[in-house]
Structure formats: structure tokens, C-alpha cells
Symmetry: D2
Subunit: 407 residues, 4 copies
Amino acid sequence: MSVQFLENIDDLLTRLREVYRELHQQPELSMQEHKTAERIEAELAHLDVEVQRIGGTGVVAILRNGTGPTVLARADTDALPVDEQTGLEYASHIEGAMHACGHDMHITTLLGALELLATNTAAWSGTYIAVFQPGEETAQGAQAMVDDGLVDKIPKPDVALAQHVMSTQAGTIGTSAGPVLSAGDSLKITVYGRGAHGSMPHNSVDPVVLASSIVMRLQTIVSRETRPGQFAVVTVGALNAGSKSNIIADRAELLLNLRTYDTAVRENIMAAIERIVRGECQAAGSPKDPEFAYYDQFPLTDNDPDVNAKVTEAFTEFFGAEAVYETEPYTASEDFSRLPNAFGIPYTFWFVGSVAPEKYRKAVESGTVAQDIPANHSPFFAPEIDPTLEIGVQTQVVAALSYLAKE
Amino acid sequence: MSVQFLENIDDLLTRLREVYRELHQQPELSMQEHKTAERIEAELAHLDVEVQRIGGTGVVAILRNGTGPTVLARADTDALPVDEQTGLEYASHIEGAMHACGHDMHITTLLGALELLATNTAAWSGTYIAVFQPGEETAQGAQAMVDDGLVDKIPKPDVALAQHVMSTQAGTIGTSAGPVLSAGDSLKITVYGRGAHGSMPHNSVDPVVLASSIVMRLQTIVSRETRPGQFAVVTVGALNAGSKSNIIADRAELLLNLRTYDTAVRENIMAAIERIVRGECQAAGSPKDPEFAYYDQFPLTDNDPDVNAKVTEAFTEFFGAEAVYETEPYTASEDFSRLPNAFGIPYTFWFVGSVAPEKYRKAVESGTVAQDIPANHSPFFAPEIDPTLEIGVQTQVVAALSYLAKE
Amino acid sequence: MSVQFLENIDDLLTRLREVYRELHQQPELSMQEHKTAERIEAELAHLDVEVQRIGGTGVVAILRNGTGPTVLARADTDALPVDEQTGLEYASHIEGAMHACGHDMHITTLLGALELLATNTAAWSGTYIAVFQPGEETAQGAQAMVDDGLVDKIPKPDVALAQHVMSTQAGTIGTSAGPVLSAGDSLKITVYGRGAHGSMPHNSVDPVVLASSIVMRLQTIVSRETRPGQFAVVTVGALNAGSKSNIIADRAELLLNLRTYDTAVRENIMAAIERIVRGECQAAGSPKDPEFAYYDQFPLTDNDPDVNAKVTEAFTEFFGAEAVYETEPYTASEDFSRLPNAFGIPYTFWFVGSVAPEKYRKAVESGTVAQDIPANHSPFFAPEIDPTLEIGVQTQVVAALSYLAKE
Amino acid sequence: MSVQFLENIDDLLTRLREVYRELHQQPELSMQEHKTAERIEAELAHLDVEVQRIGGTGVVAILRNGTGPTVLARADTDALPVDEQTGLEYASHIEGAMHACGHDMHITTLLGALELLATNTAAWSGTYIAVFQPGEETAQGAQAMVDDGLVDKIPKPDVALAQHVMSTQAGTIGTSAGPVLSAGDSLKITVYGRGAHGSMPHNSVDPVVLASSIVMRLQTIVSRETRPGQFAVVTVGALNAGSKSNIIADRAELLLNLRTYDTAVRENIMAAIERIVRGECQAAGSPKDPEFAYYDQFPLTDNDPDVNAKVTEAFTEFFGAEAVYETEPYTASEDFSRLPNAFGIPYTFWFVGSVAPEKYRKAVESGTVAQDIPANHSPFFAPEIDPTLEIGVQTQVVAALSYLAKE
């Protein structure tokens, strides 16, 4: 394929650096990305693309360029409730909000890719749809776009693509077939006891003991009920019951987080949790049925092998074999897959490094990556603009061209 | 003994009713009983007693009446952080404070007893010391008086007496030798884990699991380590760890309440708790030693058999055998015994009923005492002024006279 | 009452010592007391009593002596599966059997009492029934006698009496009103899992984990569900599951022992055990209902206050106040009460010391009773024949005469 | 390579069928394979090979054929303590022993391979070493051969090969790079309590409770301490404590089985077990240090990628691509790798099917493989002699020739 137009993009990058810095200074929390959406629309105004809002603060730009496949590329746009501590010149101006997961870089590189494709239409043929999706961090945005009629409002893509900036070595790209990000489910469980004075346990059903026994029992879901080697996480992130030493409370609340790479495993875990909690409540003589409320549910990100192979091959050809590695699955979660799943189309999701290579290599050599390299969600997270920005634009275009390039 | 002067006290009672209502309207929280202390001092002004402040809001009145024994009688004076819901005409005027444990009745009856003794000096001989003690509910007041030099500031008593209004049948008096109120100790335990993202338990030391295992293990102190039939309570009233489903916290906090009737049992329990918590922290690989902080510590109330016998006999003689019963020990706690313990003298503590007899009997018959009779600390707790007030004055005087009466 | 005939009984004691030694040499296990029963019958042959077998190896001797009350006195007759290690000249001749609980002394003293009453009929009036009961150690014998028609085969007694030799100071007698020996219940619980290879836990329902969780949960019956200070024991004496490291078994077996002094408490515990086990099996996804099988069930021994008072007064008069003490309840159990319960009559049960006074006092002083004084059931248990034998005869007669003596 | 000589081997197979049936009739337990070793030696007598005993019942045959690589091929020879229930004409003649894991087939196919190579020396060049190893089932045999000087007694091989008959479809061969069989470790843990009568828990340190708490806590090694998705098994196969309901025992015994694919994971688990057990013993106030005794330890079987690739390619060429599949790792364990590890050489281990294809396919289709196809170690395990025997001989030769064949 012809990718010459990817080589001399200094002018574009100069502009994009400015966009990136400004987005970084103006982070907006999930589902409140109003200024961000407006800024994206402003950047799109000078391009020959069809722009529409879908899902409130979601922005979609369609670039039609003759016959051929349709490719959907997605960037997420929301920030995190984190107080930035990077000390960067262009650090967040907003207290309690920071682009600590690189979504500002996602926006910027997708804008860059869109511009390159829009201004080099001779090199490709088909339709390119750039989706600027809100609310990823809370698992709300992709669903909001689907609920707002995404499937009817845009052409059906043949394939969907997404990338994520990680605190790995800049210049490297990690790809993988199959499950690459876990399904994530949060669950609030309320179990009921009977309150009493702390000196009269015999008048109580003690919810602290009940909840503690549940926690111990839940460990067996991973240790005994899940096939060894099968990825599964059941974390009780919070257990709260009672507030005074001498009062036995009447309930306990547990907040669980589940992570899986396999739908059957996920369902088995959910069934096991409910079975265990109900059994423990029965054992305790609990006076009221437990309550289960799921929230913050992220779907599995399960890369299509063929799409992944095609995109990986294109990366290897463009960046060289040494730049592309097969990534281990991450235990984190994403809501991107809700978009392709709504259309029933294959997709792939890859990772782009953002740490200065020397710095990263030193940390690896001294075994101090965890301490020295601020990870995503850290108040110190700070992608190196160069070369991350350039490579991020290139990966978006190269991946798209693997489907859209003229022979 | 001559107790004729206890029979016609209508004028006194008329005045005391007013005092009681006013005290009830102006409750003050523990160690903040400033107006209450002033009111007590005002009531004492017209009596021939020596008055002093000890322990800030503690008031002591000494009534000297020739040779003979010295008797200390104590009333506690603080209210509770409860919003009164009785609907009484004289309900609390103070939001967030209520005399929900009858300490206003304790003050009033001790004032009445003091006046009766002060105005009938011919009937007795010796010294009567009325101690109006603050801060019982938080276990601070008796200690504050002792710390402020109680032992040096008043004559050493031969015996100490105290009574408590209970939601039992008015007109009845419960006495008992030996442990009658438990020792109560609150304990805050902080155990440390290592925080991590909820999807990466292998990077954490999970404090929710650690705390849960501790709770299960603590059960064995009563079930296995304490002699069967020995009174012992180890309640974990609160367990709090974490606040989000997908974040593994770095610590957990447990609030425990201990109740015992025996010093050796209490010490064994304390040692067992520490042993178990340390062992569990070791099992968990906890990165930091656990912390133990005791608070709200109430001493054992352990009635002297001789004092109890003497007082019980006097009650039986004055009120009739049907009015006096041997009470079961209560699991609740008091700080009264710190006063006699500071002097090394014997004491007894008894219970006075406050519920209209008919109402109480009906509740007993229908097995609905728990539902129908608001207990101490309830926002509906409301002693019947009559006959509780009269009987409460008489019990104070009769008990004192069992030591002070002329033959 | 006239008890002169109790004072000079040297000839009787000489004969009884021989009987005791021979019984001690020929112990027989529970419900196999054939030679023992024959020996008792041989001893009774020369007395003017009606003798019958009831319950196989049970022997009953009725001594009628005119009008008056009927008193039943009981001795148990079985030995224990213990290899004697006392080194006594008259140690057990039988391997695997030993009178390690003093039942041989019980037989001998009851024979002595019977002979004294039979030969001193002028001193009393009424009916004396001596019951030599088998199978106490396994809780089978009293039931066997009742099942064999005891109630129809002998006159209905007015009161029943029994005593037990303890490793306390010889010459002292412990009595008590109310519960003096606990109800004891053994319970075998079988819970079911699903077997699998040890490397495939996901194919199993792990019974080791299930049983362990049950054990932890059972602790809460005493620690949380029983009123503090209420006597209750729930011991899991045995937990057995699996036999190889790499095979997950399909079941686990728990053997429980329950001790209570109160019927309601006992029933609450039984209900709680079943509730907990069923709840835990549900939590585990157990494929088969758990099974509960009670065995070795001993009734409560709950001394009638009036009978105890009458007997205690007689002991005090005869032996002096210093010899009689109020005993704490024992946590052990007995099946004696099945006999009076079958008739619906009151009873009392007391304890007779058997350790040489000096030896006992030294052990008390040095705090080494537990180490130095072999307790009942120990292979070193060895009552001092003198004065235990004489006092044991006297207690039986004195207790009987408290009902039967002529004024 | 020239493999024509593998095509017409009917005469050889006729003889081998007889050998197989006779071996199957005469199973010998681990490290007692005396007759088996003699039989192997008898079969080798007519071949031009150097035969020696190593490790007692281990037999090694060296076939030298000029210059070239040296290949070690291993068959294990021991049977299992299982009572055969196949009903086969040639079923085991020995009570309590059965070739239930196909080691008789391993012996026979290796004899066949040796004969084919010995009689077709023109087709290859190098050295072929056939190792008939005893005691695989108890992890003793490979170690015994190493301890007996294997490394010094035979030429150093360049590569080691082994195969195993599985209850999968006959005619298929499963190969895989990397960990293909787990490391397996058994561990006996003894924890100490203090014994007491069941009614006196306060005098005890209850080992049933201690062991139960340990079991619950051990679950967290897999659920919390091991990286999600990392293969790790910690099974408590047996927990045994106490034998009577009313006796609290003084110790408990746990038998654990560990399975891992990674040395670091294995060591972490071992450290965590010890840390947890010691912590729980401290929490319990255990009077004596716990004891840890490892036994039946199997090494990891970790196929060399290059060796596996070479052998797999040869299988694919000879049997066709449809016969060769990439197997999932098995959770079971083997001691084969101790042989190549002793030399420090690479190896691979593969699986050969043994179930009649139609039968297997039907079971797969109806989802009843687990019920209908008796697995290894089952008393019904019965490889189809044809074509298992022929294919097993061929796989051994083909794998060897991938190193030894003349170009």
C-alpha cells in the first residue's frame, strides 16, 4: 500500500501538539465532555466530513471516499477524577479532573488520522468513520451511543479499530488475538442481620460475622470452582458494616469486582456468588433476603484473530518487526467492544507505548518499572508527546489502510 | 431506724418534679454539663452543705452531722446524643441531646435525699457525701473526678452507693451481690494490607480478606478459650475496609466491644485478641504491624456482698419483701465503681423501676416488653415521674440510713 | 435420727474392702457386666432383700421395712476401655478394661449401705431400693432398665439418690441444687461433596473446604447465638475427610459433642447446627443433603432443690459443716436421671472425695492439682480405699435416712 | 527420510500383541517391577543391543549405529494399585494391581521401536538408547536411575523423547511446546493443639478449629496471591483430626497437593503455605511448631520448543496433518523430565490416543466423554490394541528418525 503521505507530517504534528496540550488542560469527567465535543467539532469543521452528535457528547465524523470497505475507528474522550501532579507546563487547569488515561492523546491522534485520510484520498477507497466516544471510564459512553441509535445513524462498518496509549516504551505496539481486556463487573451485595446492643449478641444476627464468612467463602470461587489457569478475579473491594463498637448493626454491604476473559466463566462466577451469599445468609439465620445490584459493567474485549492478524501485519511492515510485539492480555477493561458488538462486526484493539525509550529501558534493566514509570490513572501519568503523537497518528492510518488501501 | 420523715414529703416532691422537668428539658452531653452543674449548685445553695466542683462539671456536696460512718452517694448527670421522640410536654429543648438514660432522675432523687437528710439530722449521725458525677456515658466522668483529686478533696467514705432508673416496673428494686454490671472495653484495631487495583490481587495484601479471617477467628475466644458458662462477650461492632469495588484498600479497621464480669477473663480475652490479630497478620503477610487502641473503657461493677445485704435488708424492711427482687446481672456497664475503687472501699449499685405497674404487667403477660416498653437509650424512654421520683428519693435515704441511722 | 449404727462398722468395712478389690480386678465394659452382676447377686444372697434382674445386667434389690417413704439409691457398675497403669496390687486383671471412674466403689458402698439398713431395721421405716445399673459410660444402661419395665417392676419411689466418687479431697462431700451435670449429646454429621482428582478442583465440590467452613461457622453458636454467661459447649471432636493428597474426597464426617444445662439452650443449639450445616452445604453446592445422627445422648442431671437441701442438711449434721461444700456444676454427664425421670420423681446427685487429704492439700497449695491428681478416666485413677469406702457407705445411709429415719 | 520399513510390520505386531497381553496380565507395583524387567531383558536378548540394569528394576538398551546424534527414548514400566474391572480376556492376574495407565503399552511400543531400528540400520545413523524406567507413579523411578549413576553409565544423549497413551481418539497425536504436564508436590502438614475433654474447650487448643481456619486461609493463595490466569492448584486432599466426639485431639494432619507450571509460582505457593500455617498456629496459641514434610514430588514437564517443533513436523509428515493436534497442557504430572534434566538436555513429551475412533466420536457428539470413556487410572481403562500398538511403535520410530535419519 502507498503510505508515503505518512512520512512528512511535521506541519500536521505541529498543530496536533497544540490540540493535545489544550485538551490536556481542559479535562472533563465522564458524560460531561461538552467542551471537548465542541473542540472536536471545531477541529473537524475544515475537513470534508459529515459530523453528527450521537449519545449526547459523542461525536461521529464520516469520511466517504468511493467504493470499498467501511472502517470504524474509535477514540474515547473523557478524563478521570484525579488531581494532576505532573508539574507539566500544560497540566490540567481543572481541579479534580485530569486526562490521566491518555484519552486526550486518543482524540488527537484520531483527528490527525482523519485529516491525513481526508487529504490523501487518492491512496485509498471506502468509508472511514471516526467515533469520538464519551464516558469510557464509567462504562456508560459506548452504551449511550448505541442507545441513541448509532446502528441506524451511521453506515454499517466492516470492521472496528481502537488503540490505547500505555506506559510502555514509545515506538512499540502491542497486539494480540483473542481476549485482550477483561470483562469487568461491579456488584453491590447487601446482607441483613438483626441489630442489637453489643453486649447482647444472642438478640442479634451479626452482620459482621455473616459478611466475614461470605468473604472467606467467596475465595473458593477462584481457588476451587474455576479451572486452574483460567483467568478469573473476584475481589471484594469494600466491606462495610457497623460504625460503633458497642452496637451490632443490622446489615453489611460488600462491593465486588469481577474480571473474566470468558463468558461462561463470568456466568459461573455470578451464579456461584449468589449461591454462596444465599447459603451463608441461610446459615446465619438472616431475617431478610440478600440484595444483588450490578453496576459499572464492562464487556469483554475479544480481538478477532483475522482482524488482528491483518492489522499486525500492516504494523510490522510499516514500523518494522522490532516495533511490534504480542501483548499479554491486560486485566483492565474497556467499553469499546459495545460499538462493534452493536453491529455484529469483528474488531481489534491494540496498545501504543508512550514512555521515552531510554527511560523505559533503564527502568526495565533496574527492575523498577513499577516505581519509576507512572502508570495509567496515576496523577503523574504523562505520555511523551514525541514520538507518541506521530506514531499514534500513523498506527490509526496504517490500521485503516490495511482495509482501505488501494492495491 | 426512724424513717418517719420519709413518709410525708409531698412539698418536697412538688418542688422536685419541677427540677426534674427542667433538667429533662436542658440535657447536656458528656463532660459538657455546665448548666446542669450550675443548676445543682443553685439547688444546694439553701442547704447547709459544703459544695465544691471536682473534675470540671462534677459537683460534690458534703453534709456533716456528727460522728459516725461516712456514706458516699452518687448520681450521674450527663445526657445522650439522642433526638427525643416522647412527645412529652417537658421534652428536650436541645436538638441532638436527651436525658434518655434517666440521669436527670438520678440528679433529682439525690437532691431530694440530701435535703431530707439535711433537714432531719436528728434521725442519723455521720457524714453524707452526695457526688453529682459528669460523663458517665463516655466513661470519662468518674475518672476525671479521681484525676482531679477526689480522694484528697473529700473525707474517705466507708461505703459508696448508687442507683439506676430502669425500664422495669415502678415500685420494684433490684439488688444483687457480686458482678452486677459488666466491665466494658472498646478497642479499635487497624490492620494493614497493600493496596492494588481490583483486577490485580497478586500485587496486593487484601485487607478485606485479612479482616474477615480475623472476625471468624475471634469467635473462638468465646467459643473455645473461655470456660463454658463464664460471661464473656467479644463483639466486632464495626468492620470497615475499602470504598470502591475495583480498588483493593491498604487497611481495614475493626471496632470491638468486650464485656466481662471477671478481671482474669478480661485479661485473657485481651491477650487472645492481640495474639489472634498478630497471627492473622502474619498469615496474610501484612506489611505493617497491627495497631490496638482501647477507648470507652468501663470498669466492672462488683457489688460487695455485705453492703448489698445490708442495703437489701433495709429496702425489704421499708418497701416490703414484694418490692425487692434479686436482679440478674446486666450486660451493660457503668463507671461508678471508679469512685469507690479510688478509695478502696466497698459499694453497691441497685436498680429502680420506672414503668407504670399496670402497663408493665400487661406487657409481661402478652410477652411484648421488648416492643412496648421503651428501654434506656431509646428516644421514647420516659420514666413515670410518679411514683419513680418518690421511691427514688426514699431508696437513696433508706440505703444511706442503713449505715447512718441512730439505733 | 439415730445413726449410732453407722459408727462401728469395722467388720463390714473389712469385708467390703475385699469386695472392692475383687471388683477392681475384674472390670467389665458397658452392657457386658455379667460377672459383676453375678457377684452383686452373690453378695445380696445373705440379706433379706428381693433381688431381680432388670435390663440384662442390671440388678435391683428391694428392702421392705414397714410403712414410710420409698427411696431409690443407684450405683453404676460398668468399667472403661482403659489399660490400668496404677501399679496397684489389686490392679485390673483384664487387658483393655479398668474401673477408671470408681463405679466399683459405687457398687461396694451401695452394698454396704444396703447391709447396714437391712441389719438395723429398728432405726428406720419404709422401703429402700438399691439399683445396680449397668452401662453408664455409654448412656445405655439406665435406658435399658427403663425399657425393660423398671417402672412396673419396682414400687414407685418418692425420691432417688446417687453419688459419685471424684478425685477431690477424701472426707468432703459436694452438693448442689439445680443443674449439676450437663446434658451431653454426640452428633455425627456427614456432608457430601463431589470427588475429583486433586489437580482438577473445578470438577469437584470440595468436602474439606465445606467441612472447614462449617467448623468456623459453628463457633458462632456459642459466641453469638447463646446468651453470654449461659453454659453451652459445641465441640467438633473429630473432622475426617479424604486420605490422599491428590484425591478430592466425596464426603466429610464431623463428630460433635454438645453440653448444656438448659433444655431450651440445647434445642436452640441443635437447631442452629442444622441450620448452619444446611446453609453451608447450599453455599458449597453440595450434591446431596447432609445427614445428622445423634448418639451417646446423656440427659441433664438437675438436682431438686428440696431433696438437695434435705440431704445436704443431713450430711452437715453427720459429717460436720467443714466436710460439706457447694459444688460448682460439672461439665461432665450422667444417665442416672433417666431413672427418676421415668417415675417423674425428684432426685439429687452428689460427689464424694477420694484423694488422701494431705496429698490433695499439697497439690492445691502448689497449684498442681491437674498434674499431680489423676482424674476420673485416667489410667492412674485410684481412690484411697480408706476413708473413701467408709464415708461412701455412710453418705448413702445418711442420705437415705433423711427420708426414712424414724423421728 | 526413509520410513518404508515402518509400513509392513505385521509380523512384528503379531509378536508385540502377545507381549502386551502378557505384560498386562502381570502388572507390578512401583519399584517392584522385577518380572517386568526380566521380561524386557528376555525380549532384548535376540537384538544386537547393550543391556544394563540401572536403578534396580530399570533396564537400559543401547543401540549403536555409527556416527550421529544420540537419542534417548523412555518408557515407564510400573502398574497401579487398582483392581481391574475391564472383563478383558487378558485382564490382570494380580489382585490389587493393574496396568491402568498404559505403561504396558509404553514398554511394548518401545520394544517394537528398538527392534525396527535394530533391524533397519541402513535407514539411520547415530545412537538410540531405550530406557525402561520403573516407579513413575510414585515419582521414584527416574530419580532412582539418576541416583544409580545414569549419567555416567550411558552416553550423553542429545535429546530425550517420551510418549503417553491417553484415552483420546486412537490415531491422533497431541504435541505442545512449553509446560505440558504440571509440577506436582505433595505435602503433609501436622499442626499441634492441646488435647482436652470435649466439655472443657478452655483447657484445649482445638486442632480441628486450627486446621479448619488453615484450610479457609489456604484458599487465598490461589484466589489472591497468584496472578489471575496463572495455573496453580492448592488442594487439601485430606484433613484428619480427632476420632471421638467428646475428646479434643492434640493434633491435626493435612495432606496437600500442589500443581504448577512455573517454578517461581511453585516457590511462592510453598512459601505462602508455610507463612499461613505458621501464622494460624500463632493465632491459635499452638504449643508446638507445625511440621512440613514434602513427598511424591513430580518435576515440571516443559517441552523444548525446538524439539517439539521437529518431532511434530515429522509426525505431520508421516501421519498427515489431521492426525496431529496441539494439546492443551494436562494438570497431571510425570517424572520423565528428571532423566533429561540430569543430562541438561532438551526433551519433548507427547500423547497418543487409544480409544476406537467411532466410539470416541460418538461420545464427543453426545457430550458424554467423561462418562463413557474410562480415563487413565480407571479400573476400566483399556487401550484398543489396534491401532494403538502400531501407531505407538511408529511414533517412537518417527520421532527418533527426526534426529537420526540419514538425509
